[in-house]
Symmetry: C2
Subunit: 350 residues, 2 copies
DNA sequence: CTGAAAGCGCTTACAG
DNA sequence: CTGAAAGCGCTTACAG
């Protein structure tokens, strides 16, 4: 069994050409091309050709310190097989911008899982450091890990707003607060006075922001807040009836579908009897993510999360951080969500 | 303007712990753990923790050690936005198996593009070496790059059969030849005697294999070969009429749709007047890739490419290669494609 | 114009 | 048990 033939190095090329290794490097990185005599240059180039030399990027990058690698860490699978394919638009944007900026992408998936979720720190070690910096995403966040990451001053940018008591988190999020307020206004303009908010996700930033938007809008119109946190659509409908709500803002696409189908089973028509607006979904014009999500015959009134742009902006923020530049727009960015005027918010029943 | 965050080196950790840099390395790669005194080890581990040190893979790799990183290189975008989303099932399989084996994934996307395609070698430089080995995929392959890759003896596995004059390529492909033969038999069993093959892709291995399967089946039944290579569906139909074909094997889903709609425009019904079988598509039971591809009302008779499994098997092959193990099943693997008996192949018109 | 040398961060024999 | 040193392949000042 023969040992694998070694890779050609500059030193070997130099030996063949009868020059020093440094001269080979000079010819390869010929910015100061003037300084190599044509004769020597020819000899070296001939040796380069005959050996089929290719630069070993390891040596080059070690010398230059930056690996030009961006990490991507998500608490769930990166290439999801689920119907909702939540991540794809983000990843699309990340890939696009990383490619444009000449970075490779490192997907951290090796860590093993605890409770089905990945972890940054595996037996006390942060694997992310392999990359120059890292984009983090995932609906589930580990507060402790986040704090530790900040402590270590490892450069990272979160996709989605994140707060930590340990310091200032860099993020690119979507402005749920404003968008929720706008949907409230939308319902209000249609004539609704009793507008409820249905939250299904937990106590995370996304839920908090939507709630804040809802409360702000209710305050403006001097209306009482009607917030429901309930998983069972039939119970939701009972609450809707009990509170005599005519419009509902729902923070999940799937829940909106569930409420609608439960309602229809109970003879409540959407939107004639109950208007519903969905608090967020992907922009189908920016990617095909929408088409791969739960197919719906309903043209929902909702706002769109600019996932693709969030990906590109996060990469741009990170590379600026890596370059020692403080981004002009700051390191906490909330992108606006466009309102999609669907058909599920109409005038309330008289 | 803040300076770019410096990365911690072993030397700095050593300084803090008051030991030599080599001791830090020893603690990190603690195989011979016996040789470091508990006291020193503790001091070093404390310094490691407080600095948040992580190894620089370039240094490690330059020194010749593995990083447990698998590269993924594709000639097109990894996270595609196109409707067909061809890659996702592969990537799903790759991610799944890499995670199971404790490897991270390095996506090589930084190279810049020539004619819209990525390149392994960018001005003579091979970036893949950062990874321990690499999975290559992409419908477009560069013959020269493939040869060069073989020359360098860099460990890689192709997804899809690839041949090179420069040596033996490791691959995990789909057995198009057998599957095409089976679809021919399918049409034959339905009563067809004049079965044509419509190829739209170029002169690549996938096309060659399908053609081989078709020719083999025709030979068995002593029928003449009727091969069409044509992009315009109307011209295809003219040929079908001219050759009096009653069944068509089509190597592209999109082309099958196009022929069918052209046919319907000309009053030719599929399958009553013309049976059509599609040579290959994803298995929807293994991923949701199918749902995000061209939506079709037709339940095509076709075979399914086991993309997900191709991904997992490719990773397994590669890690075995990296471990110095010759895979029992060899390094050139063709996976069987399941036939999906749809509704587009029926008895020919009498 | 060219060579010798330093050093990027790391691992691994080799001495003490 | 620990430190000093060599060397992986490369780029870049620095001397000649």
């Amino acid at each position: 069994m023969s040992s694998p033939p070694r890779r050609i190095t500059q030193a070997e090329v130099a030996r063949i050409a009868g020059v020093s290794q440094a001269m080979v490097s000079l010819v390869l990185n010929g910015s100061d091309s003037l300084r190599v005599s044509p004769k020597t240059r020819n000899r070296i180039e001939e040796a380069l050709r005959s050996t089929g030399y290719t630069v070993d990027i390891m040596g080059r990058r070690l010398r230059g310190k930056s690996n030009r690698i961006l990490g991507v860490f998500s608490y769930e699978s990166v290439f999801p097989s689920g119907v909702a394919d939540f991540y794809r638009p983000f990843l699309l944007g990340i890939e696009e911008e990383a490619e444009a900026q000449g970075f490779d992408l490192m997907l951290f998936i090796s860590g093993g899982r605890v409770d089905g979720r990945r972890r940054v720190y595996e037996k006390g070690e942060n694997r992310l450091g392999i990359a120059d910096g890292c984009i983090l995403l995932g609906r589930h966040t580990d507060r402790e890990e986040l704090a530790r990451l900040l402590d270590e001053r490892f450069p990272f940018v979160f996709i989605g707003r994140r707060e930590s008591s340990a310091g200032r988190v860099s993020y690119v999020g979507a402005d749920y607060t404003t968008a929720t307020r706008e949907l409230y206004e939308c319902a209000w303009a249609a004539g609704h006075f009793r507008i409820g908010l249905l939250s299904v996700s937990g106590e995370n930033e996304a839920t908090i922001d939507r709630r804040a938007g809802y409360l702000a809008a209710a305050r403006v119109h001097r209306r009482q807040a009607n917030m429901i946190t309930e998983d069972d659509p039939r119970v939701v409908l009972a609450q809707v009836r009990a509170r005599r709500l005519t419009a509902l803002l729902v923070d999940s696409f799937a829940m909106a579908e569930a409420v609608r189908s439960s309602a229809s089973a109970e003879g409540i028509r959407v939107p004639e009897d109950l208007s519903i607006a969905v608090l967020g979904d992907s922009d189908p014009t920016q990617s095909n993510a929408f088409s791969s999500e739960v197919p719906s015959e309903v043209d929902w009134t909702m706002f769109r999360i600019p996932r693709h742009e969030m990906g590109t902006r996060a990469v741009r923020m990170l590379t600026q951080l890596l370059g020692g530049v403080t981004p002009a727009e700051g390191t906490q960015l909330l992108l606006p969500c466009a309102i999609a005027e669907g058909t599920t918010v109409v005038a309330p029943p008289t």
